[in-house]
């Protein structure tokens, strides 16, 4: 697989999988304002998916579209972070995950704005505006729920503990990352860790939450080597029409 294609799939699949998970909330959030905000986030992420996977399809040159990539690949071809595919569980996990991801996306997309690949720079610039307000909202919500009541604090601590083993995967560099860094297309993900950690520490403190000490990290999502069992179920739902009616135009 071409490294640039692989790199673009990682960006697009992160947006697609998180966008899909977020879209599962539509109509059932704890308050109308949250429903609207979650749907808005999902919409932004699906929009970003179209840009990243659209460019990925062009780079691949195999006559596939962004929709083909989204709807006709199976689990082993997805390149998203494992953290993004685990179920929403509850509003707390959904927002904590969003925060852990946004805290990476903002510095990451900021750096990608100066990518040597102008298309990457362009998509990053557009996505950064959205990621910035996603981070404002997710951090604010994590703080509110962490600080709120004893019950909400316990729930948020449990959700942080659950998600923590998944965050390390964000920062593991591999050959694709090295190729992108050598070509000045993207920095190494590991270089984002200090700024990410600073955001996480500051927010956790304001949210009265403690960061787990373990640095154990699950991995296999970005490389496609081993996803969780959850992704297959998500794809079964998401891809049902494209799989059931091959070739139909919707």
């Amino acid at each position: 697989m071409q490294p640039l294609f692989e790199f673009l799939l990682r960006q697009g699949d992160n947006a697609l999988v998180l966008g899909h998970r977020t879209s599962e909330w539509c109509g059932t959030a704890p308050a109308l304002e949250e429903d609207i905000a979650l749907t808005n986030t999902a919409l932004d992420l699906i929009g970003q998916t179209q840009l990243w996977l659209g460019y990925a399809a062009e780079v691949e040159g195999a006559d596939r579209s962004a929709n083909d990539l989204a709807y006709l690949r199976d689990v082993h071809d997805f390149r998203n972070l494992l953290m993004l595919e685990v179920p929403n569980e509850d509003f707390g996990r959904t927002l904590m995950r969003q925060f852990l991801f946004d805290a990476f996306q903002v510095p990451w997309l900021t750096a990608l704005q100066t990518s040597a690949d102008p298309r990457v720079a362009e998509i990053a610039a557009k996505s950064l505006k959205e990621a910035t307000y996603h981070l404002d909202r997710s951090a604010e919500t994590v703080i509110a729920l962490g600080d709120g009541t004893a019950d909400s604090n316990a729930r948020m601590q449990a959700t942080l503990d659950y998600l923590w083993p998944y965050v390390g995967e964000i920062f593991v560099d591999d050959d694709t990352d090295q190729t992108m860094a050598d070509a000045l297309i993207a920095p190494l993900p590991s270089s984002m860790r200090p700024v990410w950690a600073a955001t996480i520490e500051e927010t956790a403190k304001a949210a009265c939450l403690s960061l787990p000490e373990s640095d154990f990290a699950h991995h296999g999502g970005r490389s496609g080597v081993r996803h969780t069992e959850h992704l297959g179920h998500m794809l079964a739902t998401m891809q049902v029409l494209q799989r059931s009616y091959p070739g139909a135009v919707w």
Binding site: L16, H20, S23, E24, C26, G27, T28, A29, P30, A31, L32, E33, E34, D35, I36, T39, N40, A42, L43, I46, G47, T49, Q50, L53, A66, N67, A70, Y71, D90, F91, G92, I143, A144, L145, D147, G148, T149, D151, S152, R155, T237, M238, V240, L241, Q242, Y245, G247, A248, V249, W250
Partner: protein, 330 residues
Amino acid sequence: MYAQMVKSTGKGLVAREDMSPEDCAFQDRIDAGEKIEPRDYMPDGYRRNLIRQIGQHAHSEIVGQLPEGNWITRAPTLERKANLLAKVQDEAGHGLYLYCAAETLGVSRDEMTEMLLDGRMKYSSIFNYPTLTWADMGAVGWLVDGAAIMNQVPLQRTSYGPYARAMVRICKEESFHQRQGFHIMMAMVNGTADQKRMAQDALNRFWYPALMMFGPSDKDSVHSAQSMAWRIKVNTNDELRQKFVDETVPQAEYLGLTIPDAHLHWNDETEHYDFTEPDWDEFFDVISGNGPCNVDRLNARKTAWDDGAWVREAMMAHAEKKAARKQAAE
């Protein structure tokens, strides 16, 4: 129409000679086409009637998110998924404007939500029908939003200012939704045999429920007469239903779909379509709780409300702590 069977005073139209001087002056303002604002005098019946109607309308937007939300995770392309998300988000926004309009009458959003969940307030019968295939997303947009527009366009001129202004914003978005629904139907009828079958099946299932959205004939309704005198309601149910049929039949013909009514025909004398009335027994079953999805819809809302309680409590607690910390720092 998202407000069906809204009860007014239940006593029929009050004659002018039976009105108090305040109520007479109020009726004069309505008759002169003036808007009534939250701080203005209004008869209790007017206030109660409006709360019921706006509340029912708001609840319909919120419960109405569910049948379409049912397809967001299965939308067939990224574009369709984004469009459907945007549409359902608009509905949540409409709910919000309408709850705000109702709040100006002295009832809180939480109180109205509790009344929805314990069955004291209703929502439109249409949302108690299931969405079974992707074509239903087309049929809902085309027919359900189409029927809603028929009712809501005149409500932009309704007598209560906050309601009328909410309707102006809502109508703009509803027209867009209807076009989006029609666009889905176009893709389906121009698609494979399976897709055409889904499109016809969706029309078959949604046609009569869409006609029911306007409510039963209001020739004899005491509620309608009072609501119309107060300009809470602007047209009769029958007028709106006829208008909907007249506009929708040519659209179905354009799509190459058959309206499931063997008696449907153009009447040269009336210059309207004659059509078969929906099964009103079914309508009364649905509004009394026995529609195909009533129990599931309300359970979905109850679950969302109960599951979200800890979040709402935490947000309130955080806001209070924040305010206290700010005060302590000053």
